[in-house]
């Protein structure tokens, strides 16, 4: 199936439940689940997520990708980064086009299919979805993130993705994000 069709088609999480893995030594936890289109499981089409248990309410990545017939590597189609601790994303001046070319986008941003599609090669641009755009919606909670992903990635039963196994304590409930003490 053409890559654009995989993105545009209405999809469902095919095999619930969706489970986050136990946190690794650095706190990383992830899920991966397969998707169906029109009632048929689409081989290799996956939704995956990454979060850090000790960083609640931030630094979440959710990605749509596909492993094709000869795929030793996933082909990434779309990704949302929410409140990334890596401080946003810098778009290349030459790989990205239009208003997003050469600009820094905030810590919450979307690597959309269209921004990363190479029309000439009829394939995704090289790199890990190198172009990102700001997200206009104010995503305050994981539930907001999930709803946004459901709409953007066209996954109708996105509510099956539970909250990451975040570990809250007195120190990590800050509610402060995207701060820049240098002004």
């Amino acid at each position: 199936m053409p890559l654009r069709r995989l993105v545009d088609a209405a999809k469902l999480i095919a095999v619930p439940p969706v489970v986050w893995t136990p946190p690794e030594a650095d706190g990383l936890t992830r899920f991966q689940t397969i998707l169906s289109i029109d009632g048929v499981v689409e081989a290799g089409l996956t939704l995956s997520g990454v979060a850090y248990a000790r960083e609640p309410d931030r630094h979440v990545t959710i990605e749509l990708a596909v492993e094709l017939v000869n795929g030793r590597r996933r082909t990434r189609l779309m990704r949302l980064d929410w409140r990334s601790l890596k401080g946003g994303h810098s778009n290349s001046r030459w790989k990205c086009s239009g208003a997003i070319a050469g600009v820094r986008v905030p810590a919450t941003h979307l690597h959309s299919f269209d921004a990363n599609w190479d029309d000439q090669r009829q394939w995704m641009k090289r790199g890990k979805l190198p172009c990102a755009e700001p997200v206009n919606e104010n995503l305050l909670t994981f539930e907001d993130v999930r709803t946004f992903v459901g709409t953007s990635f066209r996954i109708n039963n996105i509510d099956l993705v539970p909250k990451p196994p975040w570990e809250y304590n007195l120190f990590n409930v800050t509610g402060q994000h995207d701060s820049n003490p240098s002004g």
């Binding site: 030594a25 017939v69 990334s84 601790l85 890990k128």
Partner: protein, 252 residues
Amino acid sequence: MSPDSTIVTPAVDKAVAIAIGDLVHAERSADSWYINLPLIYYDGSFVTVNVRQVGHNFRVSDSGFTWREAEDIGISRRTYGQIASSVADNIGVSISERSLYVEVPAPMLHRAICDVAETSWRIVDRLSEKAFADEDEDELAETLTAKLLGLFGSEKVEPSASVRGATTNEWTVSAIVKFPHHSTVFQAVGSHPNSIYKASTEFRDLANLDRAPRLVAVVKDAKLLGPRIGLLSPAKILEEQYTDEMYRKAAA
């Protein structure tokens, strides 16, 4: 006054102030700080270090982000370890299983942040160059496999097949097409030298088998390989856009 020398205007002041303010970001997290530096990984994300106090010193680490960048582009732990060690040794940064770090007193904090960030960037830069070579090849392999399946059918075509060469090394080739009396190996070859050298070694190993398969290298554009194209000599060379008939002849 020369035509090039102009008065510094408020617009320049403002633009520069905004750009400078955007060069470094910092965010507090529990008992530490994450600092995003003006060093950009190949994918557009910022090199980020974490600073926390340990006794009278400060521990500056990459928070495991370097390994995660590597893991994300399919680099093995072994390859990561080899590259990371050689880069970190040269800059005087320590490595644990998942992170790069140094511990320093306050006066050295600035330099320590720079060192850890530079180490992380250099490691990912080297690893991503390798990964991009494979990406080029993977993309070509994908279209090649679809073409072969269309021409010969799934009963004859085995995508991502494993084949043992004369040295007993096992090679994963893009596809094998099996006929009653012979088989033909199709290998997608990217324009990056790593992809060419790998295919060259693979072809020579397979050509030395007693019952060697026929060998076909498929490239996007032969001109992009330059003089290195000669290294693929044990194989026939097809360009991706060649006709179906040329593919059939090469396989037969």
